[in-house]
């Protein structure tokens, strides 16, 4: 599903990623861990082609990212759901609109939107918040909206960048269960995190990056850093 072949990325003098080679299968659940500034965010930005590698080749869902037009990139991103630490919800849109917006982008019909969005909000346990604005929700509820938006178009990959970073431990665990549910439906999950407890408790594949290098890739790994 995701292939990195000798990928390097350098910002000015800082090596963000160095000769990284990695293979992630369809349906995998991968934690990407490492200290701050280790290259985790670069790794994610490269997958969604927000930035270009200086060297190497990246293949996502069978498509070589270096040979993509702007339109192809847009199509690629329709197969990738994104969840962020700060939720990145649109404050001037209701919960319903925040989720339906993702469907409008892919030209879904009004009928499909009115059918699927309430279903998704129900799965996420926030169906009673449809008419609320993000500022009226708790952090956990906002992250549920963000996950709903990320997976409403049935993406093949879910990228989560510190999705539990702003949540208390109980809410964080609830969010992790939702993400695991998404993974069980067949979606490949790549999650960048600093949450040591969650990584250790989930017992999933762990890719550790330090100073731009992949230093560990274990099938059922632990967090492995002190921070």
């Amino acid at each position: 599903m995701i292939d990195f072949k000798n990928v390097s990325k350098v910002y000015a003098d800082i090596v963000a990623l160095k000769n990284a080679t990695l293979h992630i299968d369809q349906g995998d659940f991968v934690f990407v861990v490492g200290p701050t500034g280790s290259g985790k965010s670069t790794f994610i930005k490269l997958i969604i082609k927000e930035i270009e590698p200086d060297e190497g080749e990246i293949i996502v869902d069978g498509k070589n990212l270096s040979k993509m037009s702007n339109r192809d990139v847009a199509m690629l991103r329709r197969d990738i759901g994104m969840v962020f630490q700060d939720f990145k919800l649109l404050e001037n849109k209701t919960v319903f609109e925040n989720v339906s917006f993702a469907m409008e982008v892919v030209h879904s019909t009004k009928r499909a939107i009115n059918r699927q969005v309430p279903q998704m909000l129900s799965v996420m346990g926030i169906d009673d918040k449809a008419k609320n604005y993000p500022s009226e929700l708790s952090a956990g509820e906002q992250q549920r909206v963000a996950i709903a938006r990320a997976i409403i178009n049935n993406p093949r990959i879910l990228i989560a960048d510190e999705p539990t970073g702003n949540l208390d431990p109980d809410t964080a665990w609830e969010i992790m269960q939702l993400i695991e549910l998404v993974n069980k439906r067949g979606t490949t999950v790549v999650m960048v995190t600093h949450a040591k407890d969650i990584v250790n408790r989930m017992n999933k594949r762990v890719v550790a990056i330090d100073q731009g290098e992949i230093i560990r890739d274990s099938r059922e790994g632990e967090y492995g850093f002190d921070d």
Partner: protein, 297 residues
Amino acid sequence: MIKGAIYSIKQALRQGFRNKGMTLASVFSITAMMLILALFFFLSVNVSYLTENIKDQFGTIEVFLKDDTTSTQAANMIDSFKDMPGVETAGYISKEKAMEEFKARWGDKAYMLDGLSENPLPNSIRIILSDLETGDFIATTAASLPGVEDVRFYREEVSKVIKISNGIQNGALVVIIFLVIISVVVVSNTIKLTVMARQDEIRNMRYVGATNWFIRGPMFFEGIIIGCIAAIISIVLSSLIYTRLCDALGTQAFQLFTASLVEPKFLITNIIWIFLALGISIGAFGSILSMRRYLKA
């Protein structure tokens, strides 16, 4: 494609309404710009119309004949004038025809001429020039012919008017171009503010796989809508102003040259299409300019 365009227009209207203040400010600025532009356009068209009239009226040489000049002599003169370079045509104007024309020019005051016991106008030959430059030579030649009483040719005056007219039209063109550029910049700034205000939305759109045109479409149409509204308002206002101006000046304007202002109906019909096209172009170009600069893929 059509579905996408409809979505973009809806979003553009929603976005324009959400940013009412900015949209109104832009519409107001462009309307003001287009109104000034309309006035220069009216000025330019009228000057051009007037110049053509003057050319028609004064790009001619009137050769007045002595009373004893025979029709054979006149016919010979006409033939020789016709052979001269720069002459479009030459024709005989009898004193009766000259009086008819004179009366027509006086319009509703022509009855004053009815009191004349005898027609004081002479028979004449009217030479219409295709090239004003040759006029002097023809006029001098005509004056030296036997049977010719007097020759009237206003070459210098016509040349002066043409020169002034060209100056006014070139000046108007410069002002029009300047105003169009300012209008494009105004639209471009509005769209820039839209892009800034929607930065989060645009980033999210990109994350969920929106194509460039899905993002740019609403902004493109927002610019066009602003341009269109400004065009419609300025068409209505400038038409009212021009109609009032024509009513106020009536046929008295430029009576010296027996020419009036261009018919409001003709000018307004033209300005509708010109200004709508201009409004759409200003809006579209302003949007594209802003998107190219602030909304890179």
